[in-house]
């Protein structure tokens, strides 16, 4: 219907909303809100169209569009999605209208700018997931920092300036080194033995980069991985995260946790593994150890938090550790698990932040000790909170279980993660997450209402229910029938794993015969 421009439409449609909003006056509060949400909803519907039309059998890039852009440097506007990016695009466009709706009442000043930056952020995020040219990718990757910087800095909490600058500088330092690596690759490609032309085309670089000597590959890998590790954030690069999450406004935290962190894990999957397979295997033990430390450390730190929002923030460090571990297990189960877990974490942590925000709007505090017995006063909120917490913990039947199970299964079988200790230690993270979340839930929701202020709290409004229902829907859908989502990413994941193994060359084939490969990796058997 729309031919090859449909992806560009998904990426840039929010600009239409931005334009309209710019022409409204600051006082037209309702129109600004409605237009912001409507834009995000239409963008979501567009991405649903992409999702439906996506051919699951085809592991290659689809809906590809390529336009000449900067001919002097052979840079093109080159976008496309495969099974890996598709789910993340959908996650982004799903969370954006929810985030905007959740801030209906909480954002009272500078609403126009708020909607402007949120929609701009959406352009950047979707762009990151769709770019097939490293230059284009970098523009979205860094350009997206600007709106997030403003969202934290203008609408954030007390310590927002510190948090905004820290967020920006941390992510920038990493990505600037990645920029040098991108330039290096592009110039390497222009060598006469390579492609003979300067290029940042990802698919062309896929062909030549894996043949780089290991020493150079290692440097390239480190430059890319540092940038992604900061974004994920992998221990010990996580220190920006609690500040940014706690200070950001509710919707900002939701988007930050829901989508931005996924850009790091997506980068590892899309760039580090296929471009530098040998270096990935070389550094795998280091990264796996950091991931496991992150899982346990994040969980332990969450446990002792007094502030609910901080607790949720640190839980991200723990959960994203699982995703990274799964990616570096480099087999289909684990990577499939990682992809679905990215979506799961986006849904459940995004929702947790929104719920914390709803509580905060009523009580203007997030201290665990200020609450108790809320389930009596706010039964609807308590129900949603329970569902989401359980999903985050990984209760079977809910979405978190599917991802965590696949990751643990995959990393246990991985021939790269040689020691089962990684998996065993990571599993303890699942237990710990149950401890900190349920313990917090118990202290906040159960017991008797000790504080008089909590007696008269209003339960969720219709709007707030509307915010949480779509997320809860997906929590059950992925939990009960993951196949419908896993099927979309299966072919691409398989192709990716094969690509990495090709890149490893002879060394991989020797080991391959000893390892039983599991062809049927779609989620069916885990139902």
């Amino acid at each position: 219907m729309l031919g090859s421009s449909i992806l560009s439409l998904v990426i840039f449609f929010p600009l239409v909303g931005i334009l309209v909003v710019l022409f409204l006056r600051q006082e037209q509060v309702r129109s600004i809100k409605v237009i912001g949400i409507a834009t995000a909803v239409i963008d979501f519907l567009l991405s649903v169209y992409v999702y439906v039309m996506f051919d699951s059998q085809n592991p290659n890039m689809q809906f590809v569009q390529r336009l000449k852009w900067i001919e002097g440097l052979n840079v093109s506007y080159y976008v496309g999605v495969d099974g890996i990016s598709l789910l993340l695009v959908l996650l982004t466009t799903l969370l954006m209208p929810i985030a905007l709706l959740s801030s209906w009442n909480s954002i009272t000043r500078r609403l126009k700018e708020y909607v402007f930056f949120m929609l701009l952020l959406e352009v950047g995020m979707v762009g990151v997931f769709c770019s097939l040219d490293l230059f284009l990718f970098y523009i979205f990757w860094e350009g997206m920092l600007i709106p997030m910087y403003f969202i934290i800095g203008i609408w954030g909490g007390e310590n927002r300036i510190y948090a905004a600058i820290k967020f920006l500088l941390f992510t920038l330092v990493g990505s600037l080194l990645m920029l040098v690596a991108i330039i290096w690759l592009a110039i390497y490609a222009s060598g006469p033995q390579q492609l003979g032309r300067f290029t940042t085309d990802l698919l062309e670089l896929y062909r030549i980069a894996p043949a780089l000597p290991l020493a150079i590959q290692s440097w390239m890998f480190l430059a890319f991985a540092l940038s992604f590790a900061i974004k994920v954030p992998l221990f010990p690069f996580h220190t920006w995260l609690p500040d940014a999450h706690v200070e950001a406004p509710t919707a900002g935290s939701g988007i930050l946790a829901g989508v931005l962190l996924k850009m790091g894990t997506y980068g590892l999957l899309r760039f580090c593994l296929p471009l530098f397979p040998q270096a990935s295997v070389k550094f795998m033990p280091l990264i796996a150890v950091l991931a496991v430390i992150g899982i346990i450390y994040g969980a332990l730190v969450s446990m002792v938090q007094k502030d609910i929002k901080k607790l949720v923030a640190y839980s991200s460090v723990s959960h994203l550790g699982f995703v990274v571990l799964g990616i570096f297990a480099i087999n289909e189960e684990a990577i499939q698990g990682s992809i679905i877990q990215m979506v799961n974490h986006g849904l459940s942590t995004g929702a947790l932040f929104l719920i914390v925000g709803m509580i905060y709007e009523r009580r203007h505090t997030r201290e665990v000790s200020e609450f108790g017995g809320l389930s009596k006063v706010m039964p609807v909120l308590a129900t949603f909170f329970m569902i989401i917490s359980l999903s985050s913990i990984g209760l079977p039947g809910l979405n978190g279980f599917v991802g965590e199970f696949l990751i643990l299964l995959g990393s246990f079988q991985s021939r790269f993660l040689i020691s089962p200790a990684y998996t065993v230690l990571a599993t303890s993270g699942v237990v710990l997450s149950a401890v900190y979340l349920l313990w917090m839930y118990q202290r906040v929701m159960f017991g008797s209402v000790t504080k008089p202020e909590n007696q008269s709290l209003k339960d969720l409004s219709f709007r707030e229910v509307a915010v949480l229902v779509p997320i809860a829907l997906f929590v059950f859908w992925i939990g009960l029938y993951p196949a419908s989502f896993l099927a979309k990413s299966a072919a691409s994941t398989k192709a990716l794993v094969q690509q990495v193994e090709r890149g490893l060359g002879g060394r991989a084939q020797v080991v391959q015969s000893a390892i039983p490969t599991n062809e049927d990796s779609s989620g069916g058997k885990h139902k």
């Binding site: 852009w69 900067i70 001919e71 002097g72 440097l73 500078r110 230059f135 970098y138 523009i139 860094e142 350009g143 920092l145 600007i146 910087y149 403003f150 800095g153 203008i154 927002r160 300036i161 905004a164 600058i165 920006l168 500088l169 920038l172 330092v173 600037l176 080194l177 920029l179 040098v180 330039i183 290096w184 592009a186 110039i187």
Partner: protein, 474 residues
């Protein structure tokens, strides 16, 4: 001596601007209330010169007995100078009024300085470079001290003059030594003899002195000491002009001498330039962090940007040359834009020039603050603005020339620079104090600033336009 009409047409931009400068000088003397007329004539004249430049853009060769180069490379720089001068004139009108220094000579001096810059970019002979630098510098010395009654402005002019005179001395001595070893000041002859000259110690001393002289004009460390004081004391609009046109002129001389005449690629000169570049980036960016006065902050930022451009020069390849040219075009727009914003908000007695003064500006004057943010993001090199692409280009040139370490220094210092550029954004948007800046903003200044912002965004998204202009030349 006779000149063919072809030569005159080819060199028409520089000739026309000279005529314009003289005309403005006359008008200024003859008319009683001359300010309005002079302003309009200057603007229209610059526009005509831009038209001439574009009309003869595709020509090549030399004019006036091989002394001047025409078309291509030279005309690209003509455009940069003329645009810088035009934008400066646009933001000057209301600034001069508010500072009570509205005299017609101002425009005249700006035009003569521009003629000097154009001479530099057209040079085919070291003597012409010297001539151009002198014409430009002397006009700028006068302009720096244009606020006669203000001590800082006088200090600025005096410092600039004394140090500038020294630098010119070095430059001239370098030229003399090169003449001594080669018997000519012509680029063509120097290029011919370059292979045989490299064994001569005096040649290297001469080259070294040339680097010193030009580094001074380009504001590269360790010849940067004058920059903060001069930029701070000079009228804000002149700081804008010096930091863009003046820097572009210095780099055009660098390119002519070290790319066209002496091929520096992979020579010792390249190593020296690489070290200069690294030191300039580090010192400029690090010192800028501690500045409270915005003009001084932009002065140190100007030093840092000279460092980025030197990286392209040290690379010594085509990518580097195109990169520098793109960078200069982008830098002109973002820097005139930011100085332009400073100039419209500045009041008598140097008020409204610190970070503190900009607190809450984002709410008091959302439009101006938004434009300023665009310039700051662009200066810090965050995509999708023009500044990012300039850095991408020069760093790519450095990596290509096996100077990856230099590119790494460059990106790390850019990360440092983000801190101080965005500090202004923090003050404008994240502080909730009530801003007191309520003055009128004149139409002409606003037009210039908006043009700059459009260019910064446009060049960032569609860099091909400038690159094609810059690349179709060699």
């Amino acid at each position: 001596m006779e000149f063919s009409s072809v030569e005159i047409v080819s060199a028409s931009p520089i000739l026309a601007l000279t005529v314009l400068a003289l005309l403005v000088l006359l008008l200024e003397t003859l008319l009683r209330k001359s300010e309005d007329v002079v302003f309009v004539v200057t603007l229209v004249g610059i526009a005509i010169c831009i038209a001439f430049t574009l009309a003869v853009y595709s020509r090549s060769g030399t004019a006036f007995m091989g002394m001047l180069q025409v078309g291509g490379f030279t005309n690209f720089f003509y455009l940069v100078f003329l645009i810088s001068a035009g934008l400066t004139v646009l933001i000057s009108r209301s600034y001069l009024k508010s500072q009570e220094i509205e005299f017609g000579e101002y425009y005249c001096m700006v035009l003569f300085a521009t003629v000097g810059m154009m001479l530099i970019a057209a040079a085919q002979d070291l003597i012409i470079i010297f001539l151009g630098i002198e014409l430009m510098s002397i006009s700028l010395y006068v302009l720096a001290g244009f606020m006669r009654k203000r001590v800082k402005s006088n200090e600025s002019a005096l410092k600039y003059f004394l140090l500038g005179a020294f630098a010119t001395g070095f430059l001239l001595y370098g030229i003399a030594l090169l003449y001594g070893v080669s018997g000519s000041t012509r680029f063509a002859t120097l290029a011919e003899q370059f292979p045989s000259l490299t064994s001569d110690a005096f040649f290297w001393v001469g080259v070294g002195l040339l680097i010193v002289g030009l580094s001074f004009k380009a504001a590269a460390v360790p010849f940067h000491m004058w920059v903060p004081d001069v930029y701070e004391g000079a009228p804000t609009t002149i700081s804008a002009f010096m930091s863009t046109g003046g820097k572009a002129a210095a780099f055009s001389a660098f390119l002519l001498v070290f790319f066209h005449a002496l091929n520096v690629g992979n020579s010792k000169i390249a190593e020296v330039l690489a070290v200069l570049s690294a030191v300039t980036m580090i010192i400029g960016n690090v010192i800028a962090i501690s500045q409270q006065n915005l003009k001084r902050m932009l002065a140190y930022s100007s030093i840092a940007h000279a460092g980025y451009m030197l990286a392209g020069l040290a690379a010594g390849n085509d990518l580097g040359q195109t990169g520098i040219m793109y960078y200069l075009a982008a830098y002109t727009f973002m820097n005139v834009g930011s100085f332009g914003v400073l100039s419209v908000l500045e009041q008598q007695e140097e008020k409204n020039l610190t970070f503190e003064d900009y607190s809450g500006l984002g709410y008091k004057r959302p439009f101006i603050a938004a434009l300023m943010s665009v310039f700051m993001f662009s200066l810090s090199g965050i995509p999708p603005f023009a500044g990012f692409f300039g850095k991408y280009y020069v760093f790519a040139a450095a990596v290509k020339a096996n100077l990856t370490w230099l590119a790494i220094v460059g990106v790390l210092t850019s990360a440092v620079s983000v801190y101080y550029y965005l500090r202004l954004v923090v003050f404008m948007y994240f502080r909730e104090t009530e801003s007191t800046m309520a003055q009128e903003i004149s139409g002409s200044s606003l037009v210039a600033i908006v043009l700059c912002a459009i260019a910064v965004i446009g060049l960032g998204i569609m860099p091909s336009f400038v690159i094609d202009l810059a690349q179709g030349l060699f």
